[in-house]
């Protein structure tokens, strides 16, 4: 049984951690072929070939595939779909954009954000902001599946897959890329970081958010934020952790000034150790925290940062 895996490629570069985690899930389904596509994708293809568990890499380079616009990327995947029973991708914004389009073009359902692979037809996925886990069995001939990477370990390197170059298909010409506004960051990537420090409304201002960033730097951590912090302009939107932002499961998650709404917990409650710092002892975050500190964050966070530096 063959699996086509859409590798996560951004501006010609393979997102190794995200792709390798999806490989772990995909390898449970069958023989994995990875598709690297974009305006440039050859280097990403070489990198993907080294992931253990990938047996073949397809590289499709074409200007129309730049920035992975949904319409041409979906058309490419559909053109390859005949040989595969499973079409899989990590549940990133790119894949969430493309995969449902692929599924509908094939007249198949999509199975989003899979957190467990039971067998080739049966999958577990969280619903209701992670407050229930549903097991579904697909009756479709092909399964189009996005993988919640936070629940799978990354496949190790050591692979030696063959790399084959393929051509793009005709661009439907429905959309074009105009610009990216990339949030620059030297810190670890939020979804793959071992430690995440997040700030919420309690931080109070954009200036005070620097305190959260200083603690993150002391821990070598990525910075996250609650919706309230993003909506108030303290942090950029791509730092949002939660049901509608990113889902993370680091070894250590430090929530500062975050009450712990259902929608935020959906994005971080699978973290190994959760620390909460909040002055409200009734805050729901303390119900999921392994270690809670009831304190004024303006005193506790600088003190903690100093002790860790």
């Amino acid at each position: 049984m063959a699996v086509l895996l859409l590798a996560e490629v951004t501006d010609g570069e393979l997102n190794l951690d995200t792709t390798a985690k999806a490989v772990t899930a995909a390898a449970k389904l069958g023989d994995v072929t990875a598709l690297c596509c974009g305006a440039s994708a050859a280097a990403a293809g070489e990198a993907a070939a080294k992931i253990a568990g990938i047996s073949k890499v397809l590289v499709a380079e074409d200007a129309s595939l730049g920035h992975r616009l949904a319409e041409p990327t979906a058309a490419l995947i559909v053109s390859l779909a005949g040989d595969y029973e499973h079409i899989v991708a990590p549940a990133t914004t790119d894949a969430k954009n493309v995969l449902p389009r692929v599924a509908a073009l094939l007249d198949m359902m999509v199975i989003s954000d899979v957190s467990g692979v039971v067998d080739g037809d049966t999958f577990e996925r969280p619903i209701y902001a992670g407050n229930a886990i549903q097991t579904v069995k697909s009756t479709d001939a092909k399964k189009v599946v996005s993988i919640r990477t936070s629940t799978f370990d990354a496949a190790p390197d050591g692979g030696s897959a063959s790399v084959e170059t393929i051509s793009a298909v005709a661009n439907p010409g429905l959309s074009e890329w105009i610009e990216d506004k990339v949030a620059a960051s030297d810190r670890p990537d939020l979804t793959s970081a071992g430690v995440v420090v997040s700030g919420g409304r309690g931080v109070g201002s954009k200036d005070d958010f620097a305190m959260i960033e200083a603690l993150a730097d002391a821990l070598g951590a990525a910075v996250g934020a609650s919706r309230a912090a993003v909506d108030s302009g303290y942090a950029p939107n791509d730092w949002q952790v939660g049901q509608t932002g990113k889902v993370v499961a680091p070894d250590l998650y430090v929530a500062v000034g975050i009450s712990g709404a259902i929608q935020h917990l959906a994005g971080m409650k699978d973290s190994k150790i959760i620390v909460a710092i909040n002055k409200d002892e009734e805050a729901p975050i303390f119900q999921v925290a392994d270690y809670g500190l009831v304190a004024d964050l303006f005193e506790a966070v600088p003190e903690l940062t100093k002790k860790l530096s």
């Binding site: 449902p100 999509v110 229930a132 439907p172 105009i178 150790i273």
Partner: protein, 252 residues
Amino acid sequence: MKVLVPVKRVIDYNVKVRVKADGSGVDLANVKMSMNPFDEIAVEQAIRLKEAGKAEEVIAVSIGVKQAQETLRTALAMGADRAILVIASEDVNTDIEPLAVAKILKAIVDEEQPGLVLAGKQAIDNDMNATGQMLSALLGWSQGTFASGLDIEGDHALITREVDGGLQTIKVKMPSIVTVDLRLNEPRYASLPNIMKAKKKPLDEKTAADYGVDVTPRLTVIGTAEPETRKAGEIVGSVDDLVAKLKEAGAL
């Protein structure tokens, strides 16, 4: 141009859901239901387009049980002009899958010929994030997902999308399907007079069969379980205690 806005009746976002003891699903009996929060943003955006003179008519559509009528009345009270209810299920526990919803919406699009479909990026119950993309595929239209900015100029639209690394702007050909993200706008509240007026606005009732769409699920739900609960944590007294505990636990 007409704007079509699909809205979904879901469990209210503030409700802590309970999984039924027999694993058959989530308990929806006597639970507060509301319009999916992302759909409110889509309705708001459609009304703003009308207020800006870029849309002539806003049509809200909902698919599901008869009670989804209330959700449509909410959309009408916010400012939608008329509504279409497609009854596809007798039972509130039956969630119609995105593929079937997309097929029904396609039939409605074929009939109504809107220039734009504005949908929420995901429903907070099934968390699928798929219907808009599927509808776009079935129609062969462009798609602009996770939109936090939307600017329509003639035969194309500029869409700012919330993506993993930041923001991306794309230009799509109209007609298009746009799915909205949280930060596109702040939805308005319906005023009491508008709620009263909404009761008189037209609401067509249809069935899935009227559109010739089979709503049989492709995914059979085998079971629904509670997620693993975390073991109780402890409250520490000071920053020093916290650092000591984290060292003990091997986290530092």
